[in-house]
């Protein structure tokens, strides 16, 4: 087993690699920022009217007569109301720098996002409500701070802290050949009281079983031992450890687990000889009911035709029985498709010598 790198040093600027550098900014970070920016952008809805038409209604009512004292007042509207400024979106250029509008994770501000988004359940024969004052849009998480140009800037800023990618490892196959074990760890950065995050101790180990030196029995035993952690389609074993308090300890434990699994799967215990048919991963025709039935039938046919001294080995080696064996194995291991069934039918007809 070639040892992988200690930390995940695939911090190159290739396309998918950035995702392994999960640097989530907790949404809790910018609550203070939210209230300030929201207050600045939209004056009127902060005063408790969440309806979409509130801004329009208030400005419509108060607009033409903003500062006259003899205005009729409804409810608790204050006497002197500033007219709402036009939203910032009207002054946004098409090629503006978006990362300065949303530099960090922030709540959705309808006046800062120049998109005509609608969200919510429509009334009868209506449309979903627009974005102004739409609580649904504010509640959900958004990724407006993670557009591709913003990420490019992040990478440019982080580049000073990274080392050069080794030029010899220029393809995925070479990476896998030299470093078959992938270790994945996540670092968390947040502005808060402490710099430590308990989620940072999780270590994930991924290795392909084809890179391990396992024979047939060892591979089956390993798959049985790890259970859910093995994926058949991609042949990848994933071990996630978080039982120790430190990342280094979890990494050591993960490597220890891998070593133990490898060595244990090569050993054969005494009780493994009691493996029964239900434990088998795939269907084996030898010594199965199907073989017994076929041989019995063929022997009966031969005795009825007075052909004696036909041994079992001869029957097993004959063409029809081999054909039958293959078709039964295909039927049991793969699914029962039409082609498998017709193949089985043909082989049984040949075996039992049925003519149409």
């Amino acid at each position: 087993m070639a040892a992988g790198a200690g930390r995940c040093c695939r911090a190159g600027l290739s396309h998918g690699a950035l995702l392994s550098w999960a640097l989530p900014f907790p949404v809790a970070l910018s609550q203070a920022v939210l209230s300030r920016t929201a207050g600045g952008a939209l004056g009127t809805p902060r005063w408790g009217r969440a309806a979409s038409s509130s801004a329009a209604a208030v400005s419509g009512r108060e607009g033409p007569q903003p500062r006259e004292g003899s205005v009729r007042r409804r409810g608790r509207t204050p006497q002197f109301v500033r007219s709402a400024a036009p939203p910032r979106t009207e002054r946004m250029a098409v090629d503006q720098d978006w990362s300065s509008v949303y530099p960090t994770a922030a709540a959705f501000r309808p006046a800062s996002v120049p998109l005509p988004i609608r969200m919510g359940y429509p009334v009868k024969r209506g449309v979903p409500p627009p974005k102004e004052g739409n609580l649904e849009l504010i509640k959900i998480p958004n990724f407006l701070h993670l557009t591709p140009p913003a990420i490019k800037k992040h990478c440019a800023a982080l580049k000073d802290f990274c080392t050069e990618w080794p030029s010899a490892l220029d393809s995925d196959e070479k990476c896998e050949q030299h470093f078959p074990i992938e270790i994945e760890t996540v670092d968390y950065v947040s502005s808060g009281i402490s710099i430590w995050n308990p989620k940072a101790r999780v270590v994930t180990l991924r290795v392909k079983l084809s890179n391990l030196n396992l024979d047939d029995h060892a591979k089956k035993k390993l798959i049985k031992l790890v259970g859910e952690r093995y994926c058949r389609e991609t042949d990848v074993l994933t071990i996630t450890t978080d039982r120790c308090p430190l990342r280094r300890q979890n990494y050591d434990y993960g490597m220890h687990l891998l070593t133990v699994l490898y060595h244990e799967s090569w050993k054969t215990e005494k009780w493994e000889s009691e493996k029964s048919e239900e434990d088998m991963e795939e269907y084996i025709w030898e010594n199965s009911h199907s073989q017994k039935n076929a041989l019995d039938t063929l022997l009966q046919i031969k005795t009825s035709e007075n052909v004696s001294n036909v041994t079992k080995e001869e029957l097993l080696a004959s063409e029809v029985v081999k054909n039958y064996r293959n078709s039964v194995i295909a039927l049991k291991n793969n699914s029962e498709t039409e082609s498998n069934m017709s193949q089985y039918k043909e082989s049984v007809k040949k075996l039992l010598n049925i003519q149409a």
Partner: protein
Amino acid sequence: QLDHGCALHTAARDGLSSMSSQDVPAERPRAVFHTSESDPAKHTEQHEARLYNIPLEEVKAVFPHGLPHRFQQQIRTFNEARVMVRKPALELLAYLRASNFAHPAVRYVIYGERGTGKTMTLCHVLHYCSRQGWLVLHIPDAHLWVKNCKELLQSSYKKDRLDQPLQASVWLKNFKTSNERFLQEIKTQKKYMWGKQESTEEGRPLGEVVEQGLARVRSATDAMGVVLREIKQQSHRGSFRLLVAVDGVNALWGRTTLRKEDKSPVSPEELTLVHNLRKMLRNDWSGGAIVTTLSQTGSLFKPSSAYTPQELLGKEGFDALDPFVPISVPNYSPREFESCYGYYLERKWLQHEKAHTEDGKAELRFLSGSNPRQLDRLAGPL
């Protein structure tokens, strides 16, 4: 014209029956989809997708309990029994004709999706065999033996098995109706004791065993077991051919919904009827054939989309029936659909005015998906 007087008793034992085949075009234009060939032995590919008639007396004699319920209703409504000749049945008939009766019995499993005509295929084959003079052992629905049985007696023969006297007596009655003459010819080969006083001596006709089972309902299950055993042992002699026809054979290897008195579930092996039938389905006897059907419709604890042999039989059933010849029954082909539609029109079953149009036919074809059962159910209210 159809020969109404042809009863089974006059049929020859081996070889073809003595019915004359007249493919005379009928007087009134009974349309392309009917055939006057009423002997399944003469059905070939040219009769495919056509409906042939079974005289009503034959229906009562051959199928006392075998036909699907809706088909029986259709017989009563139309006053005639018309069965469509389809490819799977023709295939099976060809195999049966060419089979070597010295070899062990071959097992055929008819499978297909719901409502595609498996039971009707089985009945077609049954009709052929009874016309040819075979001894027909027909179990109409094996699912009836593993669910909803009111009385379960502990078997007197083997302590841990359970008897089902009601089901056994019903079956014995129907068996008697369909195979009268064989019951006189086959003789028992050993003495059987029914309880302390009654017994059947060696050499008595099998009819006596059946009478015993019908008279004393408690021993009906054992009587049935005796009948099966005798028939199996004597079939290889060649004096008669045996057809074992089981509908819903997947019931024998599934689970039951029956419970013993202490509320523990009953497994199929503990039922005497199932045990004896499983012995019949083994291919250690010769001189006949075994034709079975898989059925999801009455099955227990099986999903409704299951129709392939492995899904319905399970591992145990597949291993027990292996090697078998699977025969698939698909939905109606376009020709068969035309045939069925034309028949319904001709019998004035489709009353709706739009049903007579081409559009109506296309709509029926689409709605039913060319599935025979769906078409039957759709055509009912029309």
